[in-house]
Symmetry: C2
């Protein structure tokens, strides 16, 4: 027998375990909110005691911020990839909407919604979340700026309306009834206004 920890010889087991905890936490935070999810809840879902999680993370706040950032990183990657496959502005917007809704509405998603509910997190956490979200939203700023909108449409308000629409979709969509593509198509149908019909 040796004092060496077995897990050390298992390749990237530490990283895998940590990743699994992040995904479990993401799911619970998305389902029950920040305050509604205790460290003991996360521990139970991961098969360990709540206190044992602190070997992998620094604090609940840091865990929440990391989950949120990882989700937006992944969302940015997927949306960018989806948008690149189209050249027409409305098609690019619809691809972005579909992609974001797929992420927001996937119940088994590794990358969860939760850009909302900022009210219930501590102020320092909220500041980090908002900063990251603002960066994420510049992606949509470019898409909206490329649209051939009528001149009486304020693009800043328009973008905010569109983003809050996408963020709140998870609140009313019945899973399984409508696909992300169908919802995105309806959203673009509503938001589509062309400056000229020519």
């Amino acid at each position: 027998m040796t004092t060496m920890d077995d897990r050390i010889s298992e390749p990237e087991a530490g990283g895998t375990r940590r990743r699994a905890i992040l995904e479990i936490a993401a799911r619970l935070f998305a389902q029950k909110g920040y305050r509604g999810t205790s460290m003991r809840d996360i521990g139970e879902a991961a098969g360990v005691q709540g206190g044992s999680l602190y070997h992998h993370i620094k604090s609940k706040d840091a865990l929440f911020v990391e989950v949120h950032h990882a989700a937006l990183d992944e969302a940015e990657r997927r949306i960018t990839r989806a948008v690149e496959q189209h050249s027409q502005p409305w098609a690019r917007l619809e691809a972005a909407c579909t992609s974001l809704l797929e992420i927001q509405l996937d119940p088994a998603s590794l990358t969860m919604p939760m850009m909302n509910d900022f009210r219930e997190v501590p102020a320092p956490v909220r500041a980090a979340l908002i900063e990251r979200r603002d960066r994420f939203e510049t992606l949509f700023r470019a898409l909206v700026d490329d649209l051939p909108l009528p001149p009486n449409m304020d693009r800043s308000i328009y973008r905010n309306l569109l983003l809050s629409q996408l963020n709140s979709a998870a609140d009313w969509v019945r899973p399984g009834r409508l696909t992300p593509q169908e919802i995105a198509a309806q959203i673009v149908r509503v938001f589509r206004h062309d400056a000229s019909t020519g």
Copy 2:
């Protein structure tokens, strides 16, 4: 000296006090959420100890539900009154949107937003909230059904998109920058699609 309580001879002081507590609770719940607002917070804002509130209310859950119902009652009254003054379907919709946004965006509102954040409340409370909200939303169902929309617009999805738009406005609107009228006008401009131009 007598054993009679002075407050009894003061007309409707009990009702007034209770109403004040409801309004204070409404404001705090709207600002910090259900879980983020403790009974001690509400007591402090009302100038009493947290435990003293239980003379006026039965439980935190019941308080939250009552505040929510009172807010929707008032919103229904105001919206109905605003809509009645118009006959054209789009004008009626815009009046309803303006009215609801006025309520949602008023920082000193007696009747606060909070139809969102259902994730963080206990399940029985959530059930009561959802039931009341569904009834509230039938008001918008009638307005949307009267719109001369193109046939490819699904009115059920359309209504959900509109309502989630109105509910999430408080999350992105900077107070003082845009008036409820301006936001409502932009929303209707986006959502306006007529079946025929004739």
